[in-house]
């Protein structure tokens, strides 16, 4: 048992932080647009190799987990999780950004409008297909992610290839979701704590009220646990760890988001503060891969199998 972050991971994350800070400094200000995609940052992350860490001997899945958590904790939106796990470990030859469709292939999904590959995950097989802009139709930007659906799902399916074992793809996606969600929640938490330190009501910072402190502290405990469950799932390669991490985080998300929006008050309802870039991403991830309901039933079935 060793929780120390290896030096090479620390160095990688330190370099990543510099890139992210630069991107945040030069990004267009929050301008009232509801969905967002940092194309320049996405390309910079790809070019600099940060999204390949999982498949590199000197880094591996732990580094990938930390990369995804770090990127997701920022109010910038790029496709990092699918690329860092699914592409790096199962589809290295396929171009990114990578979008994923599970179950019904005619539904809208995140990053599809900017993706160059789409993974079509059924219960028994995983297929992948190259796509271009004309293959997709943008949908209403309810979530902070760029959302789109396939113009012709049947045609896409027809030209797709079986690429990997569906169970492997599902496990990698669960890890990706857990890492992305834990990073998003952590970023949102610290955005709100910054706000409540400075916002004064009744003559004092609202973050000094015990009612606010205790609920944010409860969020912090859950998010810290989720962060480590996600890292363990990335490193262990175990399906049990992957469904547990994703399920735990998905299960906790609604309660955490309620508190974070509550303490941000009306400011959190605006598109001028970036809280929605975390909270609406998290709202979409609630349902990823069947959501908490499926994940928690799955982890129970794996831990206590029927025949044991």
């Amino acid at each position: 048992m060793n929780f120390a972050v290896p030096e090479e991971c620390t160095a990688l994350i330190s370099a990543l932080e510099k890139l992210l800070m630069q991107a945040e400094a030069t990004a267009a200000p929050v301008d009232g647009s509801r969905s967002f995609f940092s194309r320049d940052l996405d390309s910079a992350l790809e070019d600099s190799g940060f999204l390949d860490a999982a498949g590199l001997e000197e880094f591996g899945p732990m580094a990938a987990a930390m990369v995804v958590q770090e990127i997701s904790s920022r109010p910038v939106i790029v496709e990092a999780a699918h690329s860092s796990f699914l592409r790096a470990l199962a589809l290295p030859e396929w171009p990114r950004p990578v979008a994923v469709l599970t179950g019904k292939f005619d539904q809208a999904t995140r990053f599809l409008g900017v993706a160059r590959s789409v993974v079509l995950l059924g219960e028994n097989e995983a297929r992948v297909c190259r796509i271009e802009g004309k293959d997709t139709i943008a949908t209403a930007p309810f979530f902070a992610y760029p959302m789109a659906r396939l113009a012709d799902p049947a045609a896409c399916l027809a030209r797709s290839e079986v690429v990997a074992d569906a169970a492997l793809v599902r496990r990698l996606l669960l890890v990706a979701t857990a890492c992305e969600l834990s990073g998003i929640l952590k970023g949102a938490l610290f955005s709100v704590t910054d706000y409540v330190k400075n916002r004064r009501q009744f003559g004092r910072a609202i973050g000094s009220f015990q009612a606010v402190q205790h609920r944010l502290a409860m969020c912090a405990s859950t998010i810290a646990a989720g962060e480590w469950l996600a890292r363990r799932a990335a490193v262990s390669g175990s399906l049990e760890d992957a469904v547990m991490a994703a399920g735990y985080l998905q299960e906790s998300t609604s309660r955490i988001l309620y508190d974070l929006h509550q303490f941000m008050g009306a400011m959190g309802l605006t598109l001028e503060h970036p809280l929605y870039r975390w909270s609406y991403r998290a709202k979409l991830l609630l349902s990823d891969l069947g959501g908490a309901s499926r994940q928690l039933r799955d982890v129970a079935a794996i831990t206590w199998p029927e025949t044991a």
Partner: protein, 383 residues
């Protein structure tokens, strides 16, 4: 980074498990039902702990000079996990090995070390913790029990409450006030419980037999040599002690094993194919594993010699959440088992779960520490 156990760590765990298999009697679950403060479990601990000591498994993490083997922080924790998973057969003695002994080692005089550590290391000492008072629970610094200097002695007057194990303890780790200054007026005394003037009243409770008491001190004469550490310096010692206590108990492991037993019973009853029950079991399981990882992180920090931090309060809150998740699962799906008493760990687990957010520093204290030290939220002093 490695989330698996090393060879030596696995071997140590196997050694503990083997010992428990060979030394726990067939009627252990009957004894454990009475709770850790009960006469039955206390008497059992006085038979069991000496065997544990003989096998080098009572205080393996203590330095060799005090009867230990210099075991690692992780090995100490593995020992605690397996003991808790078995229902804590060390009874009240877990306190001696986890924090009272180490506190005496660090702050005690040679005479105190010689007097108390060998007995604790042999599994022959039962202690109680004289901290909380009717007007000083979470706000420990408000304690009023006084210790007035009288030549070479102090005379103690006051009362303690919620004191676990007091009815059968031979010594009390007592906090008393020698002056009116808040933190700086508190001292620690090691007091034999048979000292004239001490009386104990058990309080009937929901948390096991003999677990909570009132302790009254009426003109109790204590020699100055019984003071632990310097006069007025007790607060830093208490902080050190509580730092050891707060994550010293791997209760999530007891919760996890109780959850295993609940699922086994649901399978026997043919109810394990119920998807909602599985979902709720998954919730409780993930709460246990969340607590485990946060506690492991603290243990890992401690193994590197890092000072105690707010991480232990993050972990403590997760442990409380896990205790409640498992207890609520049992109450929702197998309520009859609480009456039938057909799952041995169920009632003891429930008794600990309902106290877990209250004992050893309330959940709200932990949340306050997280808010101010981890999230760095502002603290506004009382008007």
């Amino acid at each position: 980074m490695d989330f698996s156990w090393s060879g030596p760590q696995s071997a140590f765990r196997a050694r503990v498990v083997d010992f428990l298999k060979s030394e726990l009697p067939d009627d252990w679950s009957e004894i454990a039902r009475h709770g850790p403060g009960s006469r039955q479990q206390t008497d059992f601990s006085l038979r069991f702990c000496p065997k544990l000591a003989e096998a080098g498994l009572l205080v393996p993490h203590w330095p060799k000079e005090f009867g230990g083997e210099g075991a690692t922080v992780w090995e100490h924790f593995i020992l605690g996990e397996e003991m808790w998973a078995a229902g804590e057969p060390r009874g009240p003695q877990y306190m001696n090995v986890n924090w009272i002994g180490p506190t005496i080692m660090r702050f005690g005089t040679d005479e105190q070390k010689e007097l108390h550590l060998p007995r604790a290391a042999k599994g022959q000492a039962i202690w109680c913790q004289g901290f909380s008072e009717p007007s000083a629970g979470s706000d420990l610094v408000s304690l009023r029990t006084s210790a007035e200097r009288d030549g070479d002695n102090f005379v103690v007057n006051g009362s303690k409450i919620w004191t676990s194990y007091a009815g059968l303890a031979d010594h009390c780790f007592l906090l008393a006030r020698t002056s009116g200054k808040r933190k700086d007026g508190i001292c620690i005394f090691i007091v034999p419980m048979d000292t004239p003037g001490i009386s104990v009243r058990p309080i009937p409770s929901l948390v096991g037999e003999g677990d909570i008491h009132e302790v009254f001190f009426n003109d109790v004469t204590v020699p100055a040599s019984a003071m632990l550490g310097e006069e007025g310096k007790a607060w830093s010692i208490i902080t050190y002690s509580l730092g050891n206590e707060r994550v010293g108990i791997p209760r999530y492991e007891f919760s996890r094993r109780t959850l295993d037993a609940l699922v086994a019973r649901l399978k026997e009853e043919g109810r394990w194919n119920d998807e909602y029950i599985r979902y709720r079991a998954g919730q409780a399981l993930s709460a246990c594993e969340a607590a485990r990882l946060l506690v492991y992180r603290v243990v890992d920090e401690r193994s590197r010699g890092a000072p105690p931090s707010a991480e232990s309060s993050l972990a403590r809150f997760a442990v409380i959440t896990a205790d409640h998740a498992v207890s609520n699962f049992g109450l929702e799906f197998l309520p009859a088992s609480y009456s039938n008493d057909d799952i041995p760990s169920l009632k003891p687990h429930h008794e600990r779960a309902i106290a877990s957010g209250i004992a050893s520093g309330a959940a709200e204290i932990q949340l306050g520490i997280v808010a101010q030290s981890y999230l760095e939220l502002p603290w506004e002093p009382r008007a």
